[in-house]
């Protein structure tokens, strides 16, 4: 692979993970925080950045754990447990550090970290990385792209829901009902990207 091809390959992974293979809208991972924290654009942006940040780093950490611990010993089947432990510890650690050393960053990012410790999209990104046999750089690009895709989806949803505040919604559809319908429509819209690129 020439360097140019290599860059192109990474770009394909990046755009695929953001648009065509959006972890939330195509894979339906990370739905719980997507539904519950998408009431305001401001909070959605904060949570989105937290997910981008955590996914980028945990894919890298999980890649090391997989390639240098699980694979050499032939115990890949432990990846679920190990990945979860690593993600939880990383999030805890980062939260503590941010809270202590950067109150401003804590205000905007740190308080969202506990919310995403158990976000399945984050575990999902690491597992997809393993299934698709990415190398470290590809894995990190994929993690960053998946996070950015998740953020794109939740910020869009929050924007729509802010507009919906002024809309008259039938009583039975208010709250989660209309949100799920919107999520479905957004997923349909994102299907439009399918086939443009493929990260696999």
């Amino acid at each position: 692979m020439t360097p140019g091809n290599h860059m192109l390959h990474l770009l394909v992974i990046l755009f695929a993970s953001i648009f065509t293979d959006n972890i939330l809208l195509a894979r339906f991972l990370g739905m719980c925080s997507f539904l519950s924290v998408s009431r305001q654009v401001k909070t959605a942006v904060g949570l989105g950045f937290a997910v981008v940040f955590v996914m980028t780093f945990t894919t890298a950490l999980d890649w090391f754990a997989y390639r240098h611990v699980l694979q050499p010993y032939g115990i890949e089947y432990f990846r679920f447990i190990l990945f979860i432990i690593i993600i939880a510890a990383f999030v805890q650690f980062i939260e503590m550090a941010i809270e202590r050393y950067s109150p401003a960053l804590y205000q905007n990012l740190g308080i969202f970290l506990p919310l995403i410790t158990v976000n399945c999209a984050i575990l999902g990104a690491s597992l997809f990385m393993v299934i698709r046999d990415y190398n470290l750089i590809e894995g990190v690009v994929f993690g960053f792209g998946s996070g950015a895709g998740w953020m794109l989806a939740i910020v869009t949803m929050a924007g729509i829901r802010e507009k919906l505040n002024n809309a008259r919604i039938p009583r039975g559809l208010q709250g989660p009902g209309i949100t799920l319908i919107i999520a479905g429509l957004m997923a349909l819209a994102f299907i439009g990207f399918t086939g443009v690129l493929s990260g696999q």
Binding site: A65, Y73, L82, I85, A89, F93, M96, I111
Partner: protein, 374 residues
């Protein structure tokens, strides 16, 4: 044997080792990073000063200090109940708190205590009644049938505990899990006993059909059983003025008024006061002997039981009618009706119609006191 176990043990050992290493580094990090040293928590402008290790949330810190802020979600920032006013040291309002605050609360510095962390000295203000709320363990000392659907429960505090309350306040009783209930619930009942006795309290409870707590109290609680309560709560207590008093109560609503009248007797209160006690039939009437005795002991206290539907003319010689109508007729005869203070306890319907009677006599709403339970 050792050979055959190896494939099993090695992977488990590896994963456990990684888990343990991560846990250890987190514990270490917590020691180093989240060590904020000792911070001073100042409650109600120096009323109470606590020096405590920083790092935890305000809500959990207050709980360790036995100050119970109401909270339903357990500190996850989703119920919005644990509001506390922070005067100094909490920093900006966090995005997780914003949805629960209106403009007035923002201006006052109201915060969710589960989201505020104790990183530096903090000055807070909480209602003084929260400072005195405690949890008590009691035994059920006595159960008395008052009427066919009202019982009186005497709860004696264990471990030499005593309760300090203002006569008229209520406590919450914990209904534990039992045969017909799979959730623990708290229900509020006013204290009816003589406030002089601080080692026990009495509650007067009307049975609510299929009520979780009343079914527990009526059908499951036996003399000698232990009961958990917390309190005291409420703004229903005798105001320290010299205004004449009109008490209006229906059914088990007599409880806090009985407690207040006990207190008036204990303190030799000479305020002009009248108590209209409304029940439906004579079978619903109870405590009338005690109340009549109070009327004899307290020179300016009158007790008027009112029965709305007596079974027969001969059966009931006292006042008949709706309690609010009788109270209205009484106020009509008074020259100074607008000077009265109103104390109400009963069903929401009775409270509402009493308020409309009292306000018709120009008694201002801020001199009409009641606790709304349901």
């Amino acid at each position: 044997m050792g050979m055959s176990m190896a494939p099993l043990i090695v992977p488990i050992a590896i994963v456990s080792a990684i888990g343990a290493a991560l846990a250890a580094s987190l514990v270490f990090a917590e020691r180093v990073i989240t060590n904020y040293g000792d911070v001073v928590l100042d409650i109600n402008n120096g009323d109470k000063k606590i020096t405590i290790r920083g790092g935890g949330s305000l809500l959990e810190t207050l709980t360790t200090q036995k100050i119970f802020i109401p909270s339903a979600c357990g500190g996850r920032g989703t119920c919005g109940y644990c509001k506390v006013r922070v005067l100094e040291g909490a920093g900006q309002l966090l995005p997780t708190e914003e949805p629960y605050m209106d403009d007035k609360e923002r201006a006052l510095g109201i915060r969710l205590s589960c989201q505020v962390k104790l990183r530096n000295d903090l000055k807070i203000e909480i209602p003084t009644e929260l400072l005195t709320i405690k949890e008590y363990r009691c035994t059920c000392d006595e159960i008395i049938d008052c009427t066919y659907d009202i019982k009186q429960f005497k709860l004696k505090f264990l471990d030499g505990q005593q309760i300090n309350y203002t006569p008229g306040q209520y406590v919450q009783v914990l209904a534990p899990l039992y045969e017909k209930s799979n959730e623990e619930v708290y229900r509020a009942y006013s204290i009816s006993s003589d406030p002089e006795d601080k080692s026990a309290i009495e509650l007067i409870v009307r049975r609510v059909p299929d009520g979780i707590c009343t079914t527990y109290l009526f059908d499951y609680l036996k003399q000698g059983d232990s009961v958990k309560i917390n309190g005291p709560y409420g703004q229903f207590y005798l105001r320290d003025t010299s205004a004449p008093i009109i008490f209006i109560a229906g059914g088990s609503g007599i409880a806090p008024i009985k407690c207040i009248v006990h207190h008036m007797k204990n303190t030799g209160n000479t305020r002009k006061s009248i108590f209209f006690f409304g029940v439906r039939t004579t079978a619903d009437l109870f405590l009338d002997k005690e109340m009549t005795q109070f009327a004899a002991d307290l020179p300016h206290f009158r007790f008027v039981p009112v029965v709305s539907q007596p079974e027969s003319e001969t059966d009931w010689k006292g006042t008949t009618g709706r309690v609010t109508d009788v109270a209205e007729a009484y106020l009509n005869e008074q020259k100074d009706a607008s000077d009265y203070e109103g104390y109400l306890c009963g069903s929401p319907g009775m409270i509402e119609s009493s308020i409309s009677v009292l306000t018709r006599f120009n008694i201002p709403e801020d001199r009409i006191y009641y606790d709304k339970f349901s």
